[in-house]
Symmetry: C2
Subunit: 194 residues, 2 copies
């Protein structure tokens, strides 16, 4: 065996199980079994279930950031960048439904609440900062509506979450064309109408 696949195996197993059954529907035994690992092994790498869950968050968040930053250029127009960010994000999440479901659960749990405050108030997250920066620039250029940044954020990203969820739960099938039209609609929501 390589220099320990184990932690990764644990994270992958946990991701799959939690996406399906929720944080509290999944026991450490279930995770250990799915990962083909002993109970004790999990605790060698993660101090507790809570720590495991938080580590998973960081892992997923990082994967998303990497996907989204790829191909992003500060040289492009605000509109182009907006389109790139939103549609890349939707496409990534649709391709990785387990990660999407995991994130959704995390954000809507007691973990997520405290986290959310830090995130936005302390500006610690680089992915978020990308959006902040973009929206700020958009407002400065009179391209976007003159609203609090956080509101632009909700207007631009709120539909994304809802749409992705519908797709993940097969209530709707988002193909590339439909995604484009959705992003166009989000853009209509945030952009300034002369």
């Amino acid at each position: 065996m390589k220099d320990s696949d184990k932690p990764d195996a644990v994270i992958d197993a946990a991701l799959e199980l939690i996406a399906e059954h929720g944080f509290h529907g999944v026991s450490m035994v279930m995770i250990a079994e799915k990962a083909n690992v002993g109970m004790g092994t999990i605790y060698r790498y993660f101090a507790s279930k809570d720590v495991l869950i938080s580590e998973m968050y960081k892992v997923v968040e990082n994967r998303i950031r990497i996907a989204v930053v790829n191909g992003y250029s500060r040289e492009k127009t605000v509109k182009e960048r907006f389109f790139h960010l939103i549609s890349t994000l939707i496409k990534y999440l649709i391709k990785h439904p387990l990660e999407f479901r995991y994130m959704e659960q995390y954000h809507n749990s007691p973990y997520g609440v405290a986290f959310r405050k830090d995130l936005i108030l302390d500006h610690h997250d680089r992915e978020m900062d990308l959006f902040m920066e973009l929206f700020q620039e958009g407002v400065r250029q009179n391209v976007l509506k003159e609203l609090p940044i956080l509101m632009l954020f909700s207007l631009g990203l709120g539909p994304l979450v809802s749409l992705t969820r519908d797709h993940v739960f097969s209530l709707l099938i988002l193909d590339d064309e439909l995604i484009d039209r959705a992003v166009e609609a989000c853009w209509d929501g945030v952009r300034r109408h002369t």
Copy 2:
């Protein structure tokens, strides 16, 4: 004592506790204590914790429906109706943050997933139907974008959830003017631009 306050007391206590600590952060003992009721009493009215949680959903859903339907008239234009529905909904949820938090948790839990499918596929929910009907009419009149109804739904209501959450967690203060501007922006998202 009146003809049994107990079940209501249980629901109110549970609502408060669950909004704060999440489904699994709340034990039946905690609920009983907060409601000033014996453990066994809860089980006289609700067969299990799961049943209690589902009943609570129905109660909250109904309160919301009543608030939203009030003042709604099929005679008004699509735009007027859209504004009425969305802003009434935001205002109600801001006024009842416990109910908002409860609903959010429910929708993002294993309960909510199955539920969500029924809801949309079986058209059983009257509040939802109000939106469906409105969007359908809007598309027919060429007032709204020609997109799947479910997409219009996400575009119109996605930001609402996100905005309300920001307000409830004090990341943003939504006054009436800001709400109006937010709904205006949502409208820009779904409406057809000539």
